[in-house]
């Protein structure tokens, strides 16, 4: 049976019901928003179910939307069914005051460094991750630099004249 957006969505709804919070299509690409507290079982099902068969985790990242009160941090999983060349995007929203979500490392080994990167830049805590520490930034960094409240520019420069930067 060929996978398409309708079959994937209906199979997920059939198994997980109210854990599937929302779904929409961008450029024919199915996005599913799920209950963050049940992400591990849903992702595991997507991988091991013979019909779903999303054996490849293309990417795992996060987004910060400061205006969405109560669900500021979104963890995004990009999944790929290699046999049918069908792709799916899963989103789980977290409260920034308690950014904890279950790790996917036991499902896809490749999630290890992706989750470390997501922790490094957004401070999402992946519970059950074997080695959750910074991967790209310096170890002693005190901020999560891709969160919107932290400035992108280096804070140690003294030679910048605000008049030349429109400030």
């Amino acid at each position: 049976m060929a996978l398409n957006n309708e079959t994937v969505l209906s199979r997920l709804k059939e198994h997980f019901g109210d854990a599937v919070l929302d779904s929409y299509e961008n450029f024919d690409y199915l996005n599913i928003e799920i209950d963050a507290s049940r992400n591990a079982e849903i992702l595991r099902f997507l991988k091991i179910d013979t019909q779903m068969n999303f054996i490849y985790l293309t990417d795992l990242c996060a987004v910060h939307m400061p205006d969405q009160t109560g669900k500021e941090l979104g963890v995004v999983y990009h999944l790929h069914n290699l046999e049918e060349n069908y792709r799916l995007r899963i989103k789980a929203w977290l409260n920034i005051n308690n950014p904890e979500i279950a790790s996917a490392t036991s499902i896809w080994k490749g999630a290890n460094w992706m989750e470390r990167e997501t922790y490094d830049f957004f401070g999402v805590v992946f519970t059950g991750h074997p080695n959750l520490r910074r991967i790209l930034n310096v170890d002693h960094m005190e901020v999560f630099p891709l969160r919107k409240e932290f400035p992108l520019e280096d804070s140690t420069r003294e030679d910048k004249d605000d008049r030349f930067f429109g400030r």
Partner: protein
């Protein structure tokens, strides 16, 4: 051929000061350590190649061990995570040692005014010559090396023992 330094010469002899002879020898046998992290490093490869041929200036041998290097050439963006490594390389070099900062990124952070990039290597190690450009052409890199040669030729043999030099290193926290 390199010009002989000022001195007395006559039939069968030549006399000059020791510091000038040593300066001449050092300046024309600099062993550079290329610390190339990005596109300036590509320009440096052209500088070493046969068209521009840095070997003409006595820098034939690239020293990939800091222990035997005289000149640290930092070429490219230095991320903050790379900073301690660069500093360690500098510390491993024996005196006398010189540093040339090639390109906008190594000199000032360049276009990368961001949380992850060191805003100029002179924040962690002392720099003798800055070469501007993004990236600089090989001619500019050669010019930078020649400015280093001028410094080497004219450096007092006692400079590395002076209180000023020790104070400079101490201001970077280097022993």
């Amino acid at each position: 051929m390199v010009e002989a330094p000022d001195g007395l010469h006559g039939e069968g002899f030549f006399a000059t000061s020791l510091s000038k002879v040593i300066g001449l020898a050092r300046a024309n046998s600099m062993w550079p350590l290329p610390f190339a992290t990005s596109c300036c490093g590509i320009e440096f490869m052209a500088t070493m190649g046969s068209n521009y041929d840095l070997a003409r200036f006595g820098s034939e041998r690239m020293s990939f061990s800091p222990r035997q290097a005289d000149l640290l050439m930092v070429m490219g963006t230095i991320a903050k995570k790379m900073g301690p490594i660069l500093r360690q390389v500098y510390e491993q070099m024996a005196e006398p040692r010189w540093v040339i900062s090639v390109g906008a990124c190594a000199s000032s952070g360049g276009i990368f005014d961001t949380y992850s990039v060191l805003q100029g290597i002179d924040r962690i190690i002392p720099v003798d010559v800055y070469v501007p450009g993004c990236p600089p052409r090989p001619e500019q890199i050669i010019d930078g090396v020649m400015r280093i040669q001028d410094l080497v030729k004219n450096e007092s043999l006692r400079r590395r023992n002076t209180p000023e030099y020790k104070q400079l290193l101490a201001s970077y926290g280097i022993e």
